[in-house]
């Protein structure tokens, strides 16, 4: 793997870095510290800019109309795009466009027309409904939502928990058990319109993340036509494994971006702040925190870029993607924590972004496959099929 950026990468990364500094950070000064949306006029203006930059739709694969940017470069850009207060869960407030749910890329052409393409155009929103009150780490066993065939339709009953964005979605992917005896091979993925009778958003689940909240759903005799099955009956988990694994790479990159910004702020601050007659930067205790931050950032960046590079080269990358998610979420958590410590009281105040990063970064160790599950994935790759 070449560790130097190409001329093109340097240029695009510089462009996005300037965009964050010149366009996003000034707007953020006037927003609520927990905001995850821009005013519509600002959003439209910035979307126009990202289109002019040729980078709108960055999360969309090139074969679906996204810019022709390889995964390594996309990863470098994801590192840049999260370097602001809302950057972890709302990088650049969505002005680079969204990405469709990974599974929808495997949909039938008719399903793509109804759900994927409108989503890529920004006209529709979807949610991902896998986790349930009975558990999210091992959904294959935990799923209790049932779908029963009734003529050409399926009737779905059950509940989902922790589902992000379901209250504002036009449709969602709902995983339901269609064969009680087949475990992992008894779950089917349905595309469900949120105006279907029997679909309910029962409550908001308030977490450490205030703006981009989760919801609890209930399905009561919700009738879904068989045309809305995504993939095959009982094969819900077989869809888009490769794309889902790929998602862990920008997820890791977002954490690294926040860590880089936290470190940059700490490096600016400690030479200026005086205690006991000398700047904080003269103290070894502070220097070591900066050193540990730097090592955490570099390690997680290289592991993440290696995963991106392997995926880009078409090599197996499941282990590397799991390592990237695991290492980046844990390392970035430590970096933000140390930066807060160096800022003292200011570190925990809403005046600065650390307290938001600290709260939201904690969720990253649980979301997108908790870190224990990532360790399990890595162990399975190391030990082979002998591990259940």
């Amino acid at each position: 793997m070449d560790l130097n950026l190409t001329e093109e990468q340097t240029m695009i990364v510089g462009m996005v870095r300037r965009f964050v500094r010149e366009e996003i950070l000034p707007l953020e000064a006037d927003l609520d510290p927990d905001a995850d949306e821009l005013a519509p006029a600002d959003r439209d203006r910035l979307v126009e800019k990202t289109r002019e930059m040729g980078l709108y739709g960055l999360g969309i694969p090139p074969e679906y109309g996204g810019p022709d940017v390889d995964l390594v470069t996309r990863t470098l850009l994801a590192v840049e795009m999260s370097q602001h207060r809302a950057g972890l869960y709302a990088p650049c407030y969505g002005t680079f466009g969204g990405a469709g749910l990974a599974q929808l890329f495997e949909a039938t052409e008719e399903q793509k027309e109804r759900y994927l393409y409108p989503t890529l155009r920004g006209e529709k929103r979807g949610f991902f409904g896998l986790s349930e009150p009975s558990g999210g780490s091992d959904p294959a066993r935990a799923i209790q939502t049932r779908a029963v065939q009734d003529g050409d339709d399926w009737i779905i009953n059950g509940a989902k928990l922790w589902i992000s964005g379901a209250d504002r979605a036009d449709y969602g992917l709902v995983f339901a058990r269609t064969d009680a005896d087949k475990g992992r091979n008894g779950v089917t993925c349905f595309i469900v319109d949120t105006d279907t009778p029997g679909f309910h958003v029962r409550r908001i689940v308030h977490t450490l993340r205030s703006a981009h909240y989760a919801t609890e759903l209930q399905f009561e005799d919700m009738r879904v036509p068989k045309e809305n099955i995504l993939g095959e009956v009982n094969r819900g988990f077989a869809i888009a494994n490769d794309r889902l694994t790929r998602q862990r790479i920008p997820y890791a990159a977002g954490c690294i971006g926040v860590a880089i910004k936290a470190q940059e702020m700490a490096l600016d601050y400690v030479p200026q702040r005086q205690t006991f007659g000398a700047p904080l930067s003269s103290r070894q205790a502070i220097q070591w925190m900066l050193v540990d931050n730097e090592i955490d950032i570099k390690q997680s960046l290289w592991i993440t870029l290696e995963a991106a590079n392997k995926a880009h080269q078409g090599e197996p990358f499941r282990k590397e993607a799991a390592m990237a998610k695991l290492v980046a979420t844990e390392a970035a958590g430590r970096v933000v924590d140390r930066a807060m410590q160096m800022f003292g009281g200011l570190g925990v105040a809403k005046d600065l972004p650390f307290e938001r990063w600290y709260r939201e970064m904690r969720i990253r160790r649980i979301g997108e496959g908790p870190n224990e599950v990532q360790r399990h994935v890595i162990a399975r790759e190391l030990l082979g099929a002998s591990l259940r």
Binding site: D32, P33, D34, A35, E37, G165, A166, D167, R168, A169, T194, H200, V201, R202, R203, I204, H206, T207, R209, S210, A211, Y213, Q218, K350
Partner: protein
């Protein structure tokens, strides 16, 4: 946590006695206990709930009562209260401008 804010109403004359600088959400009601406005005190609020409720009462002179909830999740709680209100009444409180909201059916 209950989706609706069902606490007893407090007279607006009690704002300075009851409210301090916390973050949180609040509702204002007119003399008939009809909700006329909902708001929140976030991380940028200078005086927290006390300041925001005082200002909201100045902006809505028909406000006779308020009720509130202290929470650091003020944005998600505010949106939840707005969606619940929309579900129950088919519209937002008279004093709230239209904002982009999701749908809830809290049951």
């Amino acid at each position: 946590m209950a989706a609706r804010l069902d606490k007893p109403w407090i007279e607006v004359s009690q704002i300075a006695v009851v409210l301090r600088g916390h973050m949180g959400v609040f509702q204002l009601a007119d003399a008939d206990n009809t909700v006329i406005y909902m708001g929140y005190a976030g991380g940028n609020s200078l005086q927290g709930l006390r300041g925001e409720v005082t200002q909201a009462c100045a902006d809505h002179p028909d406000a006779c009562y308020f009720r509130h909830e202290i929470t650091t999740s003020y944005l998600s709680r505010f949106r939840e209260l707005m969606m619940v209100y929309m579900h129950d009444h088919g519209r937002l409180p008279a004093g709230n401008p239209k904002i982009s909201l999701g749908r809830m059916s809290p049951g």
